[in-house]
Symmetry: C2
Subunit: 348 residues, 2 copies
DNA sequence: ATTAGCACTCACCTCTGATGAGTGCTAATA
DNA sequence: TATTAGCACTCATCAGAGGTGAGTGCTAAT
């Protein structure tokens, strides 16, 4: 149905959306007929606007105000009218230069990505570090904390460090732990977590392993350590930028957003949505299904190195976001980060 | 000078401060003369109020409003009038029960502390994890990331894991690194970072070490890894709570605060102020010297285990904070966390 | 020394009318 | 038949006016 719009309607809708994106104010027929050289009188524009309103693509706050695009209007704009141009090589170079990735830990890289995303887009940057489950095993260490409690340190191929406290048999000596660490690290090196898990459970079932008590304990320990998920890490940058947007200028709106940004769980859930997709994804307004994020749109893209290690980055802003500007930034940044992660383990 | 206040003046100042703390509104003479049974008419109260205003302890937003305490007024209240009662054993038990510390990584503990602090105080909780410099060496690992780049993982006595990427001689093999890790871990175990540093620089100067090339490399590596500070970790919880306070209800104020909370550097600087002191410290308003935190007060206390590992926790709220309620919470929480950190490495 | 009394101040609320941007409808026009 | 000029109408926004009430400072009485 929405596709049945004729060209004039499309032009006018596009004009309204773009005017609204830059002004955040209801757009009147007069403004459209003048600024965009459509050679149409305000009256004609009004007629089309009335049609668009009937279709649910526009609405007006009150009788004597202009029109603003509805969520559905934005949806249509994004699906049909938005042309995302690629960055030219100059812009790409600028973007590359914005990032400082030298000698950074994974955490620092993620933080840096958030920082740049938010400062370039002037909205809020979100980054979710590669998920534990998507990483490739590199090394594992066990350190005794107190009787019966061990600290497990896991390092992935890309240098992502995650740790976890596990309960364990208190009879293990320090050298036992060292042996176990070495044994597991060499056994599991290069396997994906998925493969690690199947390997572990298979070996645990095999009988012969039972002859070597230490090896069995190694398997038990690593099961305890690696079987469960490890909480995703998420980075929010430039939260104050989105608060500067007029649609969130009331104290209530601000509190709501800050609350949402504080809830890592909510954000993880949000970013997980696009986690299997390739390329840039756009979630408009109520698609997020989060009351606290009402009025927000999210532009995300996944990044990953060649061995897996999938994370997600993106920008969250008002529905009235400058999609044509932000989408290429998110897109290219994801590519950039993917390449950086490869370099992390590469030989250059 | 401030101490020259007579008892009546003190009583009235106290009454005004406490009324203002609970109402956030200017306090009138009538309210004081009635609610607090001072047996004084409003007119008498007004006389005293005028004196207090002249001393700079009170001010009035305009002629026909009541009085509100100035920063100096709050300072006086805190220094002279505030009586901080200890929690009774019931309250202590409740507080203990609020915290869930089982099998938690240091990060989780810090986060949990922030969560509980903010939810109990209804202001914003701040926690700074034990500073790297104050920790006791437990173990160090080096993992090759790519040619010339190593990931260093440092684990402190309390299980604080910190990592860092360093550039290094690319000729080191995996087993070299393993040897180096083991050598350093056994050499440095139990030393404070301060001691580690002096030991390292002393050994590097000694000649005999130069015969063992690998040991020399070990020392070089650990110098590169441990000589610089590692960035402090800071946790902010319940930022939205402070935004609910009437003094920060305008959009500008909110944006300002959110910005301040986003700047880890600023917060670290703030918490560092009280870092050498013992017991609870209170920083009122402009004492923070941070324009972005204008109108805020900070209540902090350090925590530490018996071996060092000093961190700081606290609550940030409006100057009009409920000090008598929050101070004991911060105080007892710091004691609690200190004990938990000891248990981390203890034998129970 | 304390307090009752009183004039005074001023934020806050509500009501009012003016303004103007923008609309919908209708009739004239190309 | 599609477009547009014209016009009455709507309604948010703003400024000014008047009323209200909480609270003050001062003075004179207790």
């Amino acid at each position: 149905m929405a596709d049945s719009l004729n060209e004039r309607s499309q032009n006018i809708l596009e004009a309204i959306v773009e005017d609204y994106i830059s002004s955040a104010e209801p757009v009147g027929s007069r403004a459209i007929s003048r600024k965009h050289n459509l050679n149409l009188s305000p009256a004609s524009v009004r007629n089309v606007m009335a049609d668009l309103e009937e279709m649910g693509l526009l609405c007006s706050p009150h009788t004597s105000a202009g029109r603003i695009p509805t969520e559905k209007g934005f949806q249509y704009y994004i699906d049909t009218l938005l042309e995302v141009r690629d960055l030219n090589s100059n812009e790409k170079q600028n973007l590359r230069n914005s990032y400082r990735f030298q000698n950074m830990r994974m955490e620092d890289i993620m933080q840096e990505v958030g920082r740049v995303l938010s400062s370039l887009s002037q909205y809020t940057g979100l980054v979710m570090a590669p998920k534990f489950i998507s990483t490739v095993f590199r090394q594992i260490e066990f350190i005794r904390l107190s009787r019966g409690r061990l600290l497990m340190i896991y390092v992935s191929e890309t240098g992502l460090v995650q740790n976890k406290v596990i309960e364990a048999d208190s009879s293990l000596t320090t050298s036992d732990l060292e042996y176990i660490s070495n044994y597991l690290s060499s056994e599991l090196n290069g396997l994906s977590i998925q493969e690690v898990r199947t390997k572990l459970s298979r070996e645990l079932q095999e009988d012969r392993i039972h002859y070597d008590k230490l090896k069995k304990q190694a398997l038990n320990l690593s099961c305890a350590a690696l079987q469960d998920e490890i909480e995703d890490q998420i980075y929010v940058s430039g939260a104050s930028l989105i608060l500067g947007q007029p649609e969130f200028s009331t104290p209530e709106q601000m509190k709501r957003l800050v609350q949402a940004f504080e809830s890592k769980k909510l954000l993880i859930e949000l970013l997980d949505r696009g986690h299997s997709a390739r390329g840039v994804q756009i979630f408009i307004g109520s698609e997020s299904n989060q009351v606290d994020l009402e009025g927000c749109s999210l532009i995300t893209s996944n990044f990953s190195n060649q061995k897996g290690a999938i994370g997600t980055l993106g920008v969250i802003g008002p529905i009235r976001m400058n999609y044509s500007q932000v989408v290429p930034i998110v897109d290219f940044t994801a590519q950039l980060v993917s390449r950086v992660l490869d370099r992390e383990i590469g030989q250059d």
